[in-house]
Symmetry: D5
Subunit: 153 residues, 10 copies
C-alpha cells in the first residue's frame, strides 16, 4: 500500500498557487524500487503561460515521461503546479525545460523527458524536446506519438 502520510493537499482544501515558485510538488514513496523499473507518463493537454515579450497567452500540449527513483509525484500537486504557469511569462524553450527540471528535482527520478508541443502563433509552431540525460537502457518508453502540426486542407 502506498504510504501517503506526508501528503498535505490530498483531501484538504488547497489554494491554487499563483506562480511556479509558489507551487510545491509533493511526492509519495515509490513501492516498486526493488523490482524492474517502470515508466510513468503524464499528459497535460491544456497548459498555458504568457509570452514574456507581449503578455499574450501561449498554449501547449505537454507530455512528460519519467523513471521513478525513490518517489512518485503526487498528481493533485502536479496539477496545481502546472496550473501555476497561467500568469507566468517565459519563452517556450525556457518554460518547457522548467516544467521538466522541477519534476525531476522533486522526485529525484532516474530520468525524465518532456515534450512541449506549442500552439502556433503567427503560423510557425514550435516544439521543444528535452531530457535529463541519455535514455536508460533497461526501461521501455514508447514514443509520445503526438501528430505533427499541419495547416489546412
Amino acid at each position: 500500500m502506498t504510504d501517503t502520510s506526508n501528503l498535505k493537499m490530498l483531501g484538504s482544501q488547497t489554494e491554487q498557487p499563483q506562480n511556479p515558485d509558489e507551487a510545491i510538488l509533493e511526492t509519495v514513496p515509490y513501492s516498486g524500487t526493488a523490482e524492474a523499473p517502470c515508466v510513468v507518463r503524464f499528459t497535460c493537454p491544456e497548459f498555458t503561460s504568457l509570452c514574456p515579450m507581449t503578455g499574450q497567452p501561449d498554449f501547449a500540449h505537454l507530455v512528460i515521461d519519467y523513471v521513478p527513483g525513490p518517489k512518485l509525484v503526487e498528481s493533485k500537486s502536479l496539477k496545481l503546479f502546472l496550473t501555476s504557469f497561467r500568469n507566468h511569462g517565459a519563452f517556450h524553450e525556457d518554460c518547457t525545460r522548467m516544467v521538466g527540471r522541477r519534476i525531476a528535482q522533486a522526485t529525484e527520478c532516474r530520468w525524465l523527458r518532456i515534450g512541449g508541443y506549442w500552439y502556433p502563433r503567427g503560423g510557425i509552431p514550435i516544439d521543444v524536446f528535452w531530457q535529463t540525460g541519455p535514455m536508460p537502457g533497461d526501461v521501455w518508453i514508447p514514443d509520445q506519438g503526438v501528430p505533427p502540426y499541419r495547416g489546412r486542407g
Copy 2:
C-alpha cells in the same frame, strides 16, 4: 468530342497574369446539356493572396463545386486565374467570393458554391462558405468534407 477551337492558352506559351483583373477564364462548350446535369468540383490546396492591411501573405485551401450550364471552365486558364491572386490584397471574405463570382460569370453556370478554408493567422482561422443561390434539387453534391481546424496535441 469537346469543341476546343476557341481556346487560346492550351498548348501555347502563356504568360502568368499579374492580378485577377488581368486573368481571363476561358471556357469550352459543355457536351452534356441534353442529359441529366452533373456537378464538377475543383480543389485548390495552395491558394495564396496578400492581407490588404499588412501585406503579409495569406493562404487558403479552396474547394469549388459548380453545375455547368452551356460552358465548362478550361482548367489551364483556371489555374492561371487562381495563381493571379498571389500579389492581390483582399480580405478573406472578399477574396473567396470574388473567386466564386468570376467563375460563375465566365461559365454562366446554373449554380456554384465555394468553400475557402484559410490558414490561421494569430490562432483563429476563418472559413468562408458562399453559393450563388439555393442548391438545385436535381443534382447530387457531396459535402466538401474538409476537416475542421484544430490546435495541437
Copy 3:
C-alpha cells in the same frame, strides 16, 4: 437462385476489349424485384484513361451506386468494361458520365449515380458527380465518403 444462363463470359476465356465501344456489359436477372428495393455500390479504385489533348494517362477512383430494375450487372463484364478505357481518350466530365450512362442503359436500372474522383494533374484535381435523375425516395443510399483531396503535410 440467380439465373445465369445468358452469361457468356463467366468461367470462359474472355478477351480484354480494347475500347468501351467493343466492351459488352452483361447482366443477370434480379431476383428481388418483388420486395423492397436495394442499392448496389461498386468501387473501382484503379480506373485509367488517356487525356484527349496530350495522350498522357489520367487516373481516377470511381464509385457507382445504382438501384436495380429487372437486371443486375454481371461483375466480370463490368470489370472488362472499366479496363477498356485504358487507351481511350476523353475529358474527365465526358468519361465519368459515359461510364454511368452505359451501366444505366445495360441494366435498365431505376436510378444510378457515379462519383469520379480524379487524380491531380498540375495541382488542381477535378471531381465529377453525375446521376440519372433525382434520388428515389424509398431507398437508403449512404454518402460515398471519399475524403477530399489535399496537398502535402
Copy 4:
C-alpha cells in the same frame, strides 16, 4: 425484467446450424413498446459465405439497424444464424437481403435496414444497402459510417 422463458438456446449446449434454413432466430418480448421507440444496431465484422459460381469464400462486414416491434432478437441465436452462412452459396445481393429479411420476419419489427460491405474480389468491391421500407419519421438512426473502400498508397 425481460421475459426469457421461451428461450431454448441461452445457457444450454447448442449446435451450430449448418445452413440458414436450419438456423432459428429466437426472440424475447420487448419491454419498451409503451414508450418512444428505440433503434438497435448489430455489427458483424466477420460474416462469410461462399460464391455460388466458384465455391470460393466471400467475406463481408454487416451492419443491421432495426426498430423493434413486439420482439427483440436474442443475440446468441442471431450469432448462430449469421455463422450458418459459412457454407452457403449465394450472390452478394441475395445474401445481404436474406439476412435482413429473416431478422425482420422473426422480430415482426417496424422497420429494418442492412448494409453489406463485401471484401473485394478482383479489385472491385460491392456494397449492398437494403431496407424494408421508408425510414420511420419518429426514430433516430445515425448513419452506419463504414468508410469507403480504397486501394493502396
Copy 5:
C-alpha cells in the same frame, strides 16, 4: 448567475449510491429559458453494468443530448448516477433507455436522446439509439459521430 442553493452534493462529502434507484439526479435552474434554446451533450466513455443472465460485466460508451427546459442536470450527481449502474444487471436495450428516461424525468427537459455504444461480447456488438420523441425543429444538434465498430487489421 446560476442558482445553486438547492444543491446537496457539490462541495460536500457524498457517498456513491449502490444502484440506480438509490441515486438522485440533482438539478439547477436553467438561466437561458427566455432566449433561443441550446443543446447540451454529455459523453460517458466508461459506463459499466452487469449482464442480467450471466453476471458478467458489460461496458458502454454513452452519449446523451438534451434540450433543457426549466432545469439543468448537475454534473456531479449525474456522475454518481452513472456510476451506480456498476453492479446493476440489465439488458443493453433496457439499460440505455433507463439512463435516458431518468435524466429526462429529472430535468423535465423538452427533448432528450441517448446513444449507447456497447463493447462487443462474443464478436457482435450492440448499439442502442433512443429519443423521447421527434427532434425539435428549432435547435441545432450535430450527429454524435461515434465511429462504427470494427474488428481487427
Copy 6:
C-alpha cells in the same frame, strides 16, 4: 474595398481587456450585402475560463458560424474578446451562449450558431450547441465536424 475607417484597434497598441464586459467587439461594414449571402466560420481551439464554483480553469474548443448582415466582426477585437474570458467564472452553458450572443449583437447578423466543445473535468465532458434561431434556408453551412470525445486506447 472594405471600409476600415471606424476601427480603433487594428495597427494600434491595444490593451487586453480583463473580462468580457470590458471587451469591445469592433466591426467593419460588409461589402457583400447586395449579393447572395455567405457564411463565416471562426475556430478558437484555445478558449479558457474559470469554473464559478471552484475557481479551477476550464478549457474549450469553440466553433462559431454566422451569416453576416450589415457588419463583419473585426478579427483582432474578436480575439481580445475571447481572451477576456480567461479569468471570468461561468458555467459551460452560460459561457458558450454568452460568446455567441455578444457576437450576434455586435454584428447584427442574420443568424449565428456556436458549438462549445469543453475539455473533460472528472471524466464526463460537456458540449453546448446554441443558435440564434432556425438555420436560414438560402445559405450553405457545413457541419462543424469536431470528433466526439473518447477515453483512452
Copy 7:
C-alpha cells in the same frame, strides 16, 4: 496439439473471483519451445479498478506482451483474473505492475511488458509502462501503438 489436461476452468462453470488474490492464472504447456521464440500480445480495453484514496472507479486500456517460456497463460483464467480487479483499490502504478508481475510469475515467461493507458481523472491522464527486464534480442515485438491522449477539438 496443445496439452490441456490440467485446465480446471475451460468448459466448466467457473465463479468470478472477487479480488486478484482469489484469482488463479491457469496455464497450458507451450508447444513451441524447440523452435524460434514467439511473442503473444493480449489487449484488454475494459480494465477497471478502484482508487485507493477515494473509492471512485478507475478505467484503463491494458496491452500485455510476453515471450513464453514453458507455459502459455490460459485465456479464460486470464479474463477472470483481470475482471477480479473490479473492486480492488490500488494506485495506477501499483495496479499496472501487479497485473504484469502475476502473469510473469504464472507463466515463468522469458520476458513480459505491460502498458497501462489510464482514462483521465481531472484532466491529466497517467500511462504506466513496465517490463520484467531488457527486451530480448531475438524476438520481434511491434510497438503497442496506442495513440496518445488528447483533449478536445
Copy 8:
C-alpha cells in the same frame, strides 16, 4: 523472365485443399539472387480457422514478411494454402507459427516473420508475432503498422 515451368496450378483447374496438410505451396525460382536482397510482404485480411476446443470459427488478419533465398512462393498456391485452414482446429499461437513455418520451409527463405492479428473472442484479443530468427542486417523491412485493437467510442 521468371521460370514458371514447374508450376502445376497456375492457369489450370485447381481444387481447394481441405486442410493444411493437403495443401502444397508451389514455388518459382527467384531471379534476384545475384543482387542485393529484397523483402516480400503478403497481407491476408481474411484468414479463418476453427477453435480446437469449441469448434467456433476464429478470424485473423495475417501479415507475412520474408527475404527470398532461391525461391519465391507462387501466389495462387499460397492463397489455396491459407484457405485450407478454414476447417482446421488449432490454437492462435500454433496456427500462426504453422503458417510461417510452412512458407519458410517451402521457399528455403533466408528469413521470415509473421504477425497474426486475431479478432477478439470474449473481449480480449490475442496477437502472435513470430520470426525464424534474428532479422538480417542487410535488408529493409518496414514495420507492419497494423493498428492496435480497441473497444468502442
Copy 9:
C-alpha cells in the same frame, strides 16, 4: 545554379517511350556534393504494368528514396520512364527491382531503396521492399509510412 545544359527533354516536345528499354533517364549534376548528404524521395501513386501471365493490368504505389552521388535524376524523364511500364509485363518482384536498379544506375547514387505497394489481386496484396545495400549511417531517411493493406469494415 543547377547545370541543365545536357537535358534533351525539358521544354521540348518529347514522345512517350513505349517500354522501359526505350526510356532514357536523364540526369543533372548535383550541386551539393561538397556538403553533408541529402536524401530525395519520389512518390508515384499511379504506377501500372501488366501481369506477365494473364495480361491483366497491375497497379502499384511506388516510393523511392535515394542519396545522390554526382547526379540527380531529372523529373520529367523519370515520369516518362515510369509511364513506359504501362504495357510491360513483369512479376511484382521483378518490376519493383527493375525501377530501382535503373534509377540507381543512371544516377550513380550512393544508395537507393524502393517500396512497391501493389494493389490486391485476388485478396492477397504483395509489397516488395528493395535497397541497393545497407542504409548509409550519415543520412536521415524517415520511414515511408504507407499504411498496411486492409480489407473492409
Copy 10:
C-alpha cells in the same frame, strides 16, 4: 530571463525582405547551455518559392529540428526569412538545403535537420531530407511524422 537586447525586429515595424539574401536571421542567447541539451522544432506549412525553369510557384511543408548551441533563432526573423523565398527561383533540393544551412550558420547550432515535403507537380512529388551531420547521441528527437503523399480515393 532571455537576453533580447540585440533584437532589432521584435516590436518594431519591419519590412518584408524580398529574397533570402536580403533576409537576416536574428538570434537570442540560449539560457540552457549549462544543462542537458534540448531540441527545438519549427513547422512551416506554407512555404512557397518559384520553379527556376518555368517561373511557376512551388509549395512545400517544411519541418526543421535543431539542437541549440549558444544561440536560439528569433522567431519573427525566421518567419520573414522563410517568406523571402516567395519570389526566389530554385530547385527543391537546393531550396531545402539552403533553408537548413542558413539557420545552422546563424545559430551556430550543434546539429540541424530539415524535411522539405513538396506539393506534387505533374503527379510525382519530391521530398528532400537533409541534416548537418550524424544525429547527436544525447538528445531526444521524435520523428517528424509527416504522412506520405498519396493520390486519390
